[in-house]
Symmetry: C2
Subunit: 361 residues, 2 copies
C-alpha cells in the first residue's frame, strides 16, 4: 500500500485513521451485520449516525439553536439556485461580491431569479485580492448579501466580514468549512460542498437561520426548498448515508483527535505559514495573492516561466506530491492544504521546492 | 464479523465481494496512493472509473447510442421535478398512471409545472394491482407518458408496457433497474435512485433519448437541466465519486460474475418464485398483490392478525432477517429481494416463515 500527498482542491485528502476505520467497519457496522452503504436510512442505526454528525457539527462550529443544519445532495452548485429561490422573496434583490469563478457562477444563477447587484469585483486583477467593501454602497433592502468566503481557485479568504446590518449575510464556505473558528451568528446562511474538508463528494452542508426557511418562490422544486429538508430532518428522501457517515467520523477527528477548531486553526496556520514564508523568500517561486487576503487552504504559486511550471508539476507528481497543477484560469501551481493534509506533507513539499529551486534557479 | 440478511427496500444489500474489494482498495486505489473518496474528479484515474461505469451500464442494459447516460445527485425524488421541467415544453401536457406513492408524488410535482392528467389509478385497492390501460384514453399530444415501473412499497410491476406511440414513455425504474432485461428503445427517459440494485445512496441514474435534451423550461435551475450534465459528461460539478465507483463494481459483478441481465433475471425469478409459491401455499401468510402484477423485487405479505405480524417482525429480526416490516401504508411485512440478495437468503427466510407458521398457525 502506497500513500501520496494529495494537494487536490477537492475532492481531497481524508484523515487516514478515518479511512482505516471505514475499511474495518465496511462489512459490519458496529455489529449490526450490515455496511453503512447497505442499511435503511429509516433504521435506528442510521438515525444514530446522522444525529451524531449533526450534533458534532453543532459542537465543532458552535452553531446556535436557531440555525438548522441540513445534509443535502446536489453539490455546492445546487445552492447557487437554492439560495435565490428560497431567499429572494421580499424585495427580490440581492447583493453579490465577485471574488472568483464560484461567486460569479452563483451570481449568474441568482440573476435568473431576481434583481442582483454586483457590489464589487476583483476580476480586474485575476481575483488575486478581496475588494475593500463600503457598507454605504450595499442595497439596504436586499434579501441577502452574498460572498464566497474562501476562493478555492484563486486562493483568497475574507479575513474580515462585510458589515451587512440587518441584511442576511450568505457565504459559500465550501473550501474553508471547519478550517478555523467562525461566528455562525453573523450569517443568515452558510453552505459547503463537503468534499474538501469534511467528507467524500456527494454531500452538501447547509446551515440556515430558521426564520429564513419557509418562504420559497412558487416555482421552487420541492427538492430545492429548504423547508422540505428542514421538515424531513434531511431525510425527506434517501440521504447520501455513507458520505454522512464519513463526515461524522471526520468531525469526530476534528473535535476529539485534533481538539476542536481552535487547534485546527493553529495546525492550518502553521502549515500555511511554512509554505507562504518559503514562497516569500524564494527567488524562483512566488504566491499570486496579496499577503493580507491569503487563504489558509489554497495556495496558488508560480514561477515566471511556463516551462519551469510544467517541469515542476511533472517532477513533483513523480515524487509523490499530486494534484499541484494550478487551475487553468490561473496557470502555474496550487497547493490545497486542507485540514487532513499533515504538516509533514507541507514540509516535504517545501523541501522538494527548495531542491527544485536550487537545481533550476 | 457478522452479516445479516437485509430485506430493506432501499438502501439495500450489496454483493459482499464488492464490499470486500472496496475495503481492500480504500486507502490506495490500484496503486495511485489515494482513496477513491479523496481523488480529484478531474484526474485520469477517476475519469477511468466513470467511463467504465457508463460503458458497463450501456453493455449490461443494451443502451442504444442515441441515449445519454447521466450520473447525478439529488435522489429519484429530484427527477419528479426535473422530468416536467425538461420535458413538458411543447404541449405542456403529460399523462400519469398512479400505481403507488412514488408515482403520486411525481405526478403532484409535475402538476406544478404543466397540465397533467391521471390516466388510471389503482388507489381504490391500495395499489395492489397495475391498472389495465387503453391507449385510446391517452393524451395524443402529451409531452410524455409517465409510469413507475416497479412499485417498491406495494410490490407491483408492469409486466407489459403501455403503448404510447410517438409520446415518449418515461419510467421510474428505481427498484427494478438491472433486475431483468429491458428494451431501452421503448422509452424516452428512464431513471433510478441507485440505492436499491446498484450502489449506496447518493447516486441517481438517468438514461435519456438525446432529442429530449436541451429544451428545458426557462425557470429550470442550471443543476436541474439535463443539458448541463450531458454537456459536462456528468461532471459539470463534482460528482459522487465513491458511489459511482461502487456502482461500477456492482455492474461488473452483474456482467461478469452473474453473467448479464438474462442470468440476473433467472436468479431473481427463482428467488421470487420460492417466496411466492410459499405464500400461495401458506395458510397463515399471503401476498397482497394480484398474481399477474407481482414484482420480482418487493414482496409484501401479511397474516390476518396485527399481533402475529408484529410477532413475526420481531422474531425474524432476532433471527437475522432484518428490515422485514412493511411500509406503514400497507402494514404487515415486505421482503425486498434485490439483485444482491442471495438465493440462500430467501430459502432461509421461507424456512423461518414455515417454522413460524407451524408454531403460530
Ligand atoms: C468555493 C466553491 N464553491 C462551489 C464549488 C462547487 O462545488 P460542487 O462541485 O459541489 O458543486 C466549489 C468546488 O470546487 C468551490 O470550491
Ligand atoms: C420507485 C421509487 N421511486 C422513487 C424513490 C425515491 O428515491 P429517493 O429517496 O432517491 O429520492 C423511491 C425510494 O424508495 C422508490 O422506491
Ligand atoms: Mg474561486
Ligand atoms: Mg518568492
Ligand atoms: Mg410505490
Ligand atoms: Mg397464502
Amino acid at each position: 500500500m502506497k500513500r501520496v500527498y494529495n494537494f487536490s482542491a477537492g475532492p481531497s485528502m481524508l484523515p487516514e485513521e478515518v479511512l482505516r476505520k471505514a475499511a474495518d467497519e465496511i462489512l459490519d457496522y458496529k455489529g449490526c451485520g450490515q455496511s453503512v452503504m447497505e442499511m435503511s436510512h429509516r433504521s435506528s442505526v442510521f438515525q444514530g449516525i446522522i444525529d451524531r454528525a449533526e450534533s458534532l457539527l453543532r459542537e465543532v462550529m458552535g452553531i446556535p439553536d436557531n440555525y438548522k443544519v441540513l445534509f443535502l445532495q446536489g453539490g455546492a452548485s445546487s445552492q447557487f439556485a437554492m439560495i435565490p429561490l428560497n431567499l429572494m422573496v421580499n424585495s427580490h434583490k440581492a447583493d453579490y461580491v465577485l471574488t472568483g469563478q464560484w461567486a460569479t457562477k452563483s451570481w449568474k444563477e441568482a440573476s435568473r431569479y431576481g434583481e442582483t447587484r454586483v457590489i464589487a469585483s476583483s476580476k480586474d486583477k485575476t481575483f488575486t485580492y478581496i475588494p475593500k467593501l463600503d457598507p454605504k454602497t450595499f442595497t439596504p433592502d436586499a434579501d441577502y448579501f452574498y460572498i464566497c468566503m474562501n476562493n478555492t481557485i484563486y486562493g483568497t479568504l475574507y479575513h474580515t466580514l462585510p458589515e451587512t446590518g440587518k441584511v442576511p449575510l450568505v457565504a459559500d464556505i465550501s473550501s474553508c468549512i471547519c478550517s478555523e473558528p467562525l461566528d455562525v451568528s453573523k450569517f443568515g446562511l452558510l453552505f459547503a460542498g463537503a468534499q474538501k474538508n469534511l467528507a467524500p463528494a456527494g454531500l452538501t452542508i447547509v446551515i440556515v437561520r430558521e426564520d429564513l426557511v419557509g418562504h420559497a418562490q412558487e416555482i421552487t422544486p420541492t427538492m430545492f426548498n429548504y423547508k422540505t429538508h428542514v421538515d424531513g430532518g434531511s431525510m425527506f428522501n434517501t440521504p447520501p448515508c455513507w458520505t454522512i457517515y464519513i463526515c461524522m467520523m471526520v468531525l469526530d477527528w476534528i473535535q476529539n483527535t485534533v481538539g476542536g477548531l481552535g487547534e485546527m486553526q493553529k495546525r492550518n496556520q502553521k502549515k500555511a505559514k511554512l509554505l507562504y514564508d518559503y514562497l516569500d523568500n524564494s527567488k524562483l517561486f512566488r504566491g499570486t495573492v496579496v499577503p493580507e487576503d491569503r487563504s489558509l487552504m489554497n495556495v496558488p504559486f508560480v514561477t515566471d516561466s511556463d516551462e519551469l511550471n510544467a517541469k515542476f508539476v511533472k517532477e513533483s507528481t513523480e515524487a509523490g506530491f499530486v494534484n499541484l497543477k494550478g487551475h487553468r484560469t490561473v496557470g502555474g501551481m496550487r497547493a490545497s492544504i486542507y485540514n487532513a493534509m499533515p504538516y509533514e506533507g507541507v514540509e516535504k513539499l517545501v523541501d522538494f521546492m527548495d531542491k527544485f529551486e536550487k537545481a533550476n534557479g
